[in-house]
Subunit: 243 residues, 2 copies
């Protein structure tokens, strides 16, 4: 699928942005970068292409959009939807991503990005089946070119079905919980925290608190060690000879 994705930059001006696009292409496991009439032919020197150097070296340069998309079955343009009246249907990136992914699973697909200053021209857009836009804010709709490429490719490769993995830590055994409870109660007692009159209620409160926290089994030695050390210190101070 990813080999079928062609990122096409139309009249890009800044080699740094071309390098950033190459890096994003590489980050998301794609490989094809095409440039239509780039302003600076020395773009292959771009320093921002860390990790994207092979993509940048293999980048193909074309004179026209028609040549750059000739092998593609679906051609989609990107736009920040500014003031221009657009003649094309526009999809939000979230909706376009799955369609692009499905199309790229069987045939080459081109995603067109316009120049940094003006976006895609009407002529460049006329080669597109439809347009898509990244859901940016109305106040600052226009994205940096390299960032826009990264966001679009992320949407295409993202997996919609992954769920948050709740870390399955082995919970502490009840015996360890109870040992913590007893030691914490001793600390509270010896530190003077515990009011003798309400001691029983404090004990229940502490026990409930420690069960609610639900420590991981592997944390038990750390917690018990800390409590043990505090108790040791209390007792050492009591038995030290007064200076």
């Amino acid at each position: 699928m990813r080999d079928n994705v062609r990122v096409v930059l139309c009249q890009p001006r800044n080699p740094l942005n071309i390098g950033a696009a190459a890096r994003a292409i590489s980050n998301f496991g794609c490989s094809v970068l095409r440039l239509v009439d780039p302003f600076d032919l020395a773009f292959r020197e771009a320093v921002s292409a860390v990790g994207g150097a092979p993509v940048l070296r293999a980048a193909e340069v074309f004179g026209t959009v028609a040549e750059a998309v000739a092998d593609c079955s679906l051609v989609v343009g990107t736009t920040a939807v500014g003031h221009r009246e657009l003649q094309h249907p526009i999809q939000r990136l979230e909706a376009a991503g799955p369609v692009l992914r499905a199309a790229a699973s069987s045939a080459p697909v081109a995603i067109l990005f316009g120049s940094e200053k003006f976006g895609l021209t009407n002529d460049e857009m006329s080669h597109c089946h439809w347009l898509m836009r990244i859901p940016t804010s109305d106040q600052t709709p226009s994205m940096n070119l390299g960032q826009a490429v990264a966001v679009c490719l992320y949407e295409i490769v993202r997996e919609s079905s992954v769920a948050m993995r709740v870390p399955v830590h082995k919970a502490v055994r009840a015996a360890d919980s109870e040992q913590m409870t007893q030691m914490l109660l001793a600390v509270l007692d010896e530190s003077g925290y515990t009011n003798r009159i309400v001691a029983t209620s404090t004990e229940r409160k502490v026990r409930r608190f420690l069960r609610r926290v639900n420590f991981a089994a592997r944390d038990a030695p750390l917690i018990l060690g800390i409590l043990r050390q505090i108790l040791w210190k209390f007792r050492a101070e009591r038995t030290e000879p007064a200076e």
Copy 2:
């Protein structure tokens, strides 16, 4: 929700990246940028912050991670998961996004990004509840800082329920379809395309073809105009006096 998102850059080195982060924050309708111990205090001059200048001007600088996240109820670190053994649970960005969005709807949430060279240090990670990673390729896992910020914020603000809008163009009326059919048949006839022997079969083929294409009503004048002009040209040539 978006006002509760704090993008925290830990020890960022390159003002261009800080500017790019500010621009992405602005693109996705967020506003808070925090820097922990930035390398270059002249970062506010970053030229890459087109549209993100207000975010950059308001950026807050802190000496420690603890201070930078003090007001946050959820602190999440980003990682490319390199060679290091990580002590934290790691979520894919697709899964983390909805959790961050939900958390940010009620309380401030921090997203930590490490330095360009080394990512988050173990010390910086120890302030995190969990980590998340952008699903980059194993060959080129590490993203540019500005691009990583853009992708993470996109995932947080993206709407999962938007579907592709199928453009509902008003289909051409049957009368116009039939007029196109007749005119195209005339063109085929006068151009010599039509073989008299199979003319009836050609007519059916052309009629089926034009129905299958399902032109939009608004395109009918364009198509009819082209056909009319071709016919006019054929006939004009026939009646022109030979030179």
